[in-house]
């Protein structure tokens, strides 16, 4: 019987099987950031332990960092919030003390940890990658086994280079066909979450396959794997192919020379065998996917741009009925309301889901020659890393955004979770390229609508949601 990609990655990393069905799994790469690591380092210190393998770790601050250039010029001292400042400082001190490589705030390689890892080639096919952040699933786009962990596990990996794991089930999301113009990985993954639900992938490693995925860019694949966790799957993954190899080649941490040839030969097998058996398969037709917009307070509360906010009476049971009712109240929406009628206050283009160069290009193509609607209070573009920012500026994307009335910021997690100063006001509606529309996620009382970068840019210009497929591009 053939093996799935997950089976192969699992088998390659088992250090020891235990009698109770768990296994000790070796971790090749740990990414660290300031929010979920301080207590782990503190734990090491208290126990008098040292990191097992320093070069397996890479750190960068991202959640708390300010994104205006004025604040950023003075590094940590520029952070206005004293509590945030201590947290970023603590990461610097811990990395210095233990000898872990860190891209500090003023380093141009700094950025959102899930953008930085792949960009540096620190995420490689065949690796196990962990980070104290649920969106670590992103790295699975490289045929890696990657998932989020809690702080106790961050400490465990630092101290032992291993995790105690129980094997998950295999779930295949098979997307066959050709995506329509203007349809991105974000629309595909939101569509999938709408079908299987926010707990649909619980206990599963979710592989994305099918012809639509095979022809998708690495950026699109990263967006999809990033949001596997929003369907409950800790792990999202895509098999290795030429697109993966082309993306990895030449990056700072990628193997060079003879090691590159060796690696490439090993990576060829990092895909599910044709006769692999999955515990569950979900078939998706690529042609049927339209631009997606979330209307509620869970990523599964999603519909299409030509859709409507569901009514309470559409619910299948009492639990869903009360969830829809509560979402209506929180979002200030009514059942039956057209998605295109939702008026927006802010637009956010960024986050580990959609802040890579391709995302910014897609948004800039829509913004070019247009103006942000005067009804909007703010439209933010926050690149995922210093290097993405540099690349975008070399292509003139920053000028396009600024001329259209967007603010062009410094890299960080920013308004995705509002741990820095970028946040929504109470009751404000935001078209956001991030990953979670939970209550209060982007600011106290804030109302989030998840969309693709092009849809967010189009919404910024119209002041409400519009179908990006009807949008006239400048060239």
């Amino acid at each position: 019987m053939g093996k799935t990609l997950y089976d192969k990655l699992w088998d390659q990393h088992v250090v020891k099987e235990r009698d109770d069905g768990t296994a000790l799994i070796y971790i090749d790469r740990q990414l660290l950031h300031e929010v979920t690591s301080p207590q782990a380092f503190e734990g090491l210190r208290i126990a008098g332990r040292k990191p097992w393998r320093l070069d397996a770790n890479l750190a960068t601050p991202d959640h708390n960092v300010p994104t205006t250039s004025v604040e950023r010029e003075s590094g940590i001292e520029g952070i206005q919030d004293p509590v945030s400042k201590i947290q970023v400082k603590t990461l610097d001190e811990n990395c210095d003390e233990f000898g872990i490589v860190e891209f500090k705030m003023k380093d141009k390689r700094q950025g959102i940890v899930h953008v930085v890892g792949p960009e540096q080639g620190a995420t490689l096919p065949g690796m196990t990658v962990v980070c104290g952040d649920s969106h670590t699933a992103t790295h699975g786009a490289f045929a890696a086994l990657a998932h989020g962990i809690g702080t106790s596990e961050v400490e465990h990996v630092l101290a032992t280079q291993c995790l105690i794991q129980r094997k998950m089930k295999n779930l295949l999301i098979n997307v066959e066909g050709t995506l329509g113009a203007g349809i991105t990985g974000k629309d595909v993954v939101l569509h999938v979450i709408g079908i299987i639900g926010t707990a649909g992938g619980n206990g599963c490693a979710m592989e994305f396959g099918g012809s639509a995925i095979r022809s998708m860019s690495m950026e699109g694949r990263m967006t999809m794997c990033n949001m596997a966790i929003e369907a409950g799957a800790r792990v999202g993954m895509v098999g290795f192919d030429q697109i993966t190899a082309d993306y990895v080649k030449g990056r700072a941490y990628a193997p060079k020379g003879e090691h590159w040839e060796l690696a490439l030969a090993a990576w060829e097998d990092l895909k599910s065998d044709a006769d692999a058996v999955f515990d569950k398969v979900v078939e998706i037709k690529a042609e049927a996917i339209k631009p997606q917009v979330t209307w509620g307070t869970s990523p599964e509360m999603v519909t299409t741009i030509d859709g409507f906010v569901p009514k309470v009476e559409d619910a299948k049971d009492d639990v869903e009925k009360s969830a829809i009712k509560r979402a209506h109240e929180y979002m200030g929406l009514e059942g039956g309301q057209a998605i295109t009628d939702i008026q927006l206050d802010r637009v956010f283009i960024g986050s580990c889901t959609n802040s890579r160069i391709e995302d910014l290009r897609a948004a800039a193509a829509v913004a070019k020659g247009n103006k942000v609607a005067s009804s909007l209070k703010q439209a933010l573009v926050v690149p995922g890393s210093g290097l993405v920012k540099e690349q975008a500026e070399s292509e003139g994307l920053d000028k396009i955004f600024v001329e259209a009335g967007f603010e062009w910021r410094e890299p960080g997690c920013s308004m995705c979770l509002a741990m820095n100063a970028d946040k929504l006001g109470n009751g404000e509606h935001c078209a956001s390229t991030s990953n979670r529309n939970f209550e209060g996620r982007q600011g106290y009382g804030g109302r989030t609508h998840l969309v693709s970068p092009a849809m967010a840019a189009a919404a910024a210009i119209a002041g409400h949601f519009v179908d990006v497929r009807d949008f006239q591009l400048a060239d």
């Binding site: 768990t22 070796y26 947290q87 603590t90 106790s152 596990e153 465990h156 409950g232 060079k256």
Partner: protein, 215 residues
Amino acid sequence: MKPFTIHSGIVAPMDRANVDTDMIIPKQFLKSIKRSGFGPNLFDELRYLDEGQPDADNSGRPLNPEFVLNQARYQGASVLLARENFGCGSSREHAPWALEDFGFRAIIAPSYADIFFNNSFKNGLLPIVLDEKTVDTLFKEVESQEGYSLSIDLENQVINTPSGQSIAFEVDAFRKHCLLNGLDDIGLTLQDAEAIRQYEGQRRQSSPWLFDQVK
């Protein structure tokens, strides 16, 4: 970690599916570099009528009288009864830290998000899975009877109800062992240090590029 053997306590019902970790502990409180002190901000946005700030005094804040943990009958609750997919979203271990700091020792729900489930065991918080029908019955019993308490016996994997009923539950053997004894699993893993070194040596041979030093 505090060992968990037998625990009896008042049950508070959280009648809502997909309770996410942003709801359990909002992001502004994640700026702390400590493991403790999150209890006063557990469910902050549901519990209070204003916006909470880290390091602030919570005693004078307006409470939301509708919220379950603010109701007199649930004061001192240490068992949380919840709905499906509890703890979804972010991997923040601050969520079990906040629940534990508030005084919860166990949660009962039909299902949990994977990372939250894992994190709970590391902090002496026992997440129990019961089928939806049993959970439904417990919700009805809790709501109809003030001071409703459950006794949870981890060793024997059984929950005893006030009416004398016993409900069995499943728990992973290794996690049960750690929880019963309050064990830190880093120490246990390090007992396998030789196996880890051996694996690492083989991997260095078979996949040398994974050990390249970046200049």
